[in-house]
């Protein structure tokens, strides 16, 4: 298992970049192939998912341990936990929003097509997974 961890440390960031790229390129494909103009509202889940992925990559894994001494005082764990909490809330709201937009696109014929909604959900999911993968491999140093 040690070899697997070593290999993951080498190619992990690359895999995470590939997943992130795949998520955004699916969205570009949906916008290009859409017959109607995709409104800005549909872009929002992807943008906020990217923001959430960035947010929870800003914390180090060892900062949420219980014997961490920070320069801000002994009770500063709550700042890190609040930051992580906000990141989780943003990511879940994006996921819910993109699924809601997919359902709305599937029900009406006048708005964007089903592929736009599906690509939005895929984009959210892939971007968040990419953020998680990057977090697991960058904090092994």
């Amino acid at each position: 298992m040690e070899n697997l961890a070593l290999l993951w440390g080498i190619i992990g960031p690359g895999v995470s970049g590939a997943i992130f790229g795949a998520g955004w390129w699916f969205w570009v494909d949906a916008v290009v192939c859409s017959a109607v103009q995709v409104s800005f509202l549909h872009y929002l889940p992807g943008i906020f998912a990217t923001l959430a992925a960035l947010m929870f990559n800003c914390v180090n894994k060892d900062e949420i341990g219980y014997d961490y001494y920070s320069p801000y005082g002994d009770d500063s764990e709550w700042r890190v936990k609040l930051w992580l909490f906000v990141a989780y809330v943003v990511s879940f709201v994006c996921l819910a929003g993109s699924v809601g937009l997919l359902v709305q696109d599937a029900l009406t014929n006048k708005g964007p097509s089903v592929w736009t909604g599906v690509a939005g959900v895929l984009q959210c999911v892939l971007v968040l997974i990419s953020g998680l993968v990057y977090w697991t491999c960058h904090s092994e140093d």
Partner: protein, 138 residues
């Protein structure tokens, strides 16, 4: 099997020549994908091929051994992230062009095979470099 020094150099330059042929056939495939169909949209992929080595140049300089090792500061990780995203981008642009109906199946196959040829050439080049470090430079 022990080769004499001159034979080993000959083999080495033969391999370099094959590598150069691979890279130039990749470039030819890329240009053919545009020229045969008189549709110059697939040249957008060239943009991705240019972006791909840029993180490696900017952040690594000549420190190419730190790609294959686990340690390295966070800029090396970010470089790998950008390289991964560029690789996916160079597959994604021809697929999006095909999905939008801008290019046909033939152009798509030529683009993807050009990507595969470049990938094989880069992997072989990296393997040759790591072999050189073991056997020393003549």
């Amino acid at each position: 099997m022990a080769l004499s020094r001159s034979m080993r150099t000959c083999l080495h330059s033969g391999r370099l020549a094959l590598l150069a042929i691979l890279v130039s056939s990749g470039i030819v495939l890329q240009i053919l994908a545009c020229a045969l169909y008189n549709n110059w949209w697939p040249m957008l992929t060239v943009l991705m091929y240019l972006i791909l080595p840029m993180p490696l140049i900017f952040f690594l300089g000549s420190d190419t051994s730190s790609i294959m090792s686990k340690e390295g500061d966070s800029w090396v990780n970010f470089t790998k992230f950008l390289t991964g995203a560029s690789i996916v981008g160079s597959i994604a642009i021809p697929s999006i062009l095909k999905h939008a109906g801008v290019i046909g199946w033939g152009a798509l196959t030529m683009e993807l095979s050009s990507f595969v040829v470049f990938g094989v050439a880069i992997l072989w080049f990296l393997q040759m470099n790591s072999e050189d470090e073991y056997s020393g430079v003549f």
